[in-house]
Subunit: 268 residues, 4 copies
């Protein structure tokens, strides 16, 4: 008998999923029992391109059948919102803890999962963002905003990005707004001699979006008060950055017996 | 009857003290009742150079006499370690809450103040560093170190600084070490072709000290894991940076009935 | 006989002027012969507040009289645009090289000074900005823009600044525009979900203005191309930053026999 | 008749070479005529894995035969130092301009190529580093060092790097040393309370090497003088960063009739 966490991964061929397979395969106290794919029933993961070196991992197309055939602890779901909800509920019914990395759950979905966790006395983690550095940046920003009245956000991405500001910048601004009163920053009489120079206004704080080829995904949150500035910055260089968050979530879900939404709530 | 916090400041002519006078004088819900100086007994603060505009604030050389003559809530002490301990104890005896910004208290000093706070059911805050941004930087670094195994510290100061690394850098490294196991970072076989390139080693993490004319006092803490980095940076430009911490401490000490050592313990 | 550069300073009591007095007084190969002020005729500089330690420097209110009475090499003028033009012409007539740190000269003023320099075979430097780091930042940006098609400017100042973007940011953008074709940067279909997020548009490049208490005067110019970014950043902490430029200009003007407008033209 | 630059690439399957194929293929005024490989004689480039979409490009194993069969303008060589020298000489004999991206040429190799260029009245560029941003960073640092006496270098790389400091950091320090007198920086009496804190010493300037997982290849050069700092920073995220340098070199070599060693010498 060993102490490894027995894991099933749903969505192994996606960009996040293939990183998760790599993570579980290279983490000593994790063990990959099976994967859930929408095709390839009955094949082995090693039959698929890119996974030739992953031994003894069967592919199931049906989660229930997989859960009945294996004795697993955790389901890592990196599929789609619709499938994710069904997978999470099914896993809990079989006493398997879900760790789900998709967005799009409705409030009633979340309420249902919370009820199920309580009923089964099991943990479940839904995390729209697994980049632990980004989550810490937002969490720290929220704390700092209680002591600094003035803050600006500069997010920087490659020039193929369509929307400005980024979702992370808006989320950060929301989290800061939740703990401070709206404050019109800058000089009361400031004026833009070139429109847009002062960036976007979000309840009085300013957000700036830089787009340049070469950049990947970066954000800094700057706080200022008399005589000092505090800067919190996250640089994301590739998708591997999500995996430390998945690892933390898997470890944490084993010790929980409640439902958690958002990685920030398990980082103390 | 008003709701202002009634304040006595000890050490008003020092560099920190004069900033504190300015802070109390310009904060609407604070009121400066008196100051403690080692000379100028019987004069008014407005008699002294630099304070001509501060009205109705008498100078005392004896704290007890001052406490008997005024009805104060908080003593801000920015003197020396020896005087600070005597002032803190005396204030507590008179039911006045001390906020003390000096270092050098012994463990038995701290134990005695803790006992006194309990006995009097009063708050007392001793803070070696009032720069709230620096304290947050250290606190956030300690949290981040639980999720990132690899960290390096770069501190940057003007070239008149004698010691390297800075006290703040060492304190940061200590706080990080308290929550992680010692880890030799970098490639196991890395080698310096120029001695010192990899900086100082503190339980396996590396500290780098930059000294340049023009710089004031800056520090960044860099965390790295696969595909991402998280940077926490504090820039201190002048002594005014300490005052936001004094303000927070005064507000907080009014709501406490225990002893607190270190600003980090009142920033949630 | 020594080899010191003999200097007259006009405007010694201004913010720049008092720094220039300090510079000349502490530079071994510079010597301060006299100052020009609009009052205090006949007094000595050491009679004035803040200059008690500067010996043997007479004050003149009339530049001609001063030039006749002294044997000087260079006039440093830090007064106003109107006075600056008169001073520069007068100095050249007396074979003294002007180094002028004011803005507001008209094209015909500049043409007249150029003619005078040629006639007298003397150097003259007019520099609207003496912060050598800022001038190098602009110069380097102009060079880099020839190799990088995409650039964004982020300037950051204290929140008492009224205008956005800063004069330096606009000057930088102008210098970059002079060497590249106008290019609409970012994704062709990018859209702002919060107005202003993408900053100000200057011939297709973007400028962002950050305003926070605590900041002084900072600017970074970011260039991006596939797989890389190049950043040029200047941080100005106080007025002392102008003095290295004054020093370089004084040394350079002694070797010139032509008129130069802009410090960037003497930095090779 | 068109005005495209006709190009041969030697070493198309290497990491740099495959990027170069991509560059030439996607640049409108460039045309790929043929490639030189040490095998696959007689095949087409589109037969090889990763190049299926590149049409009509024959593979040669012998450069002379290739040069005789095609009418090319430029040879881009991204092979090895030994092969590179032979290729460069051969190309010049056939009136084709070499652009070579390898290191390891001896002084007599360089002298021989210089002579050949003169004889043939043709350009040739040998560049050990094609990352245009890194080359500009070094060039700008050398200029800035003439106006700032104090400089420190911080280079940051992933933690799989063996040597510290990096080759680019040492090259930068050499270039700075070439234009300034050796200066022991920092306070004359500074002391390290933790050995190595002040980094490596190179003729008095200091170099710091940061190693963290997540980082790729980054360097900043910090200059300081009274009241200001100037920072020049290069971030390299992937190998694509070299291609802008190759492009510039190909365009430039068409206009040269001399030998050039080092990309910095063609960036004005």
């Amino acid at each position: 008998m060993d102490n490894k966490v027995k894991i099933i991964i749903a969505g192994p061929r996606g960009r996040m999923g293939s990183e998760a397979v790599k993570l579980v395969n290279t983490t000593e106290h994790f063990e990959l029992l099976a994967v859930i794919d929408h095709k390839h029933e009955g094949q082995m993961l090693s039959d698929l391109e890119g996974f030739h070196h992953i031994n003894n991992v069967p592919i199931y197309t049906d989660l229930e059948k997989c859960l009945q055939s294996t004795n697993s602890d955790v389901l890592i779901d990196l599929t789609t919102p619709e499938v994710g909800m069904y997978h999470a509920k099914t896993a809990l019914h079989y006493h398997v803890r879900p760790v789900v990395g998709t967005t799009g759950f409705t409030p009633s979905d979340l309420a249902e999962l919370e009820r199920l966790c309580q009923e089964k006395n099991l943990g479940c983690i839904i995390a729209p963002n697994f980049a632990i550095g980004a989550v810490l940046m937002m969490k720290f920003s929220q704390i700092a905003a209680q002591y600094f009245n003035d803050v600006e956000i500069i997010e920087m991405h490659h020039d193929q990005k369509l929307d400005a500001p980024s979702g992370t910048a808006v989320k950060t601004a929301e989290m800061i707004s939740a703990v401070r009163e709206s404050k019109k920053q800058g000089h009361p009489n400031e004026k833009e001699t070139l429109a847009g120079a002062r960036g976007a206004d979000y309840t009085g704080m300013h957000i700036h979006s830089v787009r340049l080829p070469g950049l990947v995904a970066h954000q800094q949150v700057l706080f200022g008060s008399e005589g000092q500035t505090l800067t919190i910055r996250h640089d994301s260089y590739n998708r591997g950055s999500f995996m430390s968050g998945v690892k933390v979530a898997v470890e944490k879900v084993m010790k929980l017996n409640t439902f958690v939404y958002g990685l920030e709530n398990i980082l103390e």
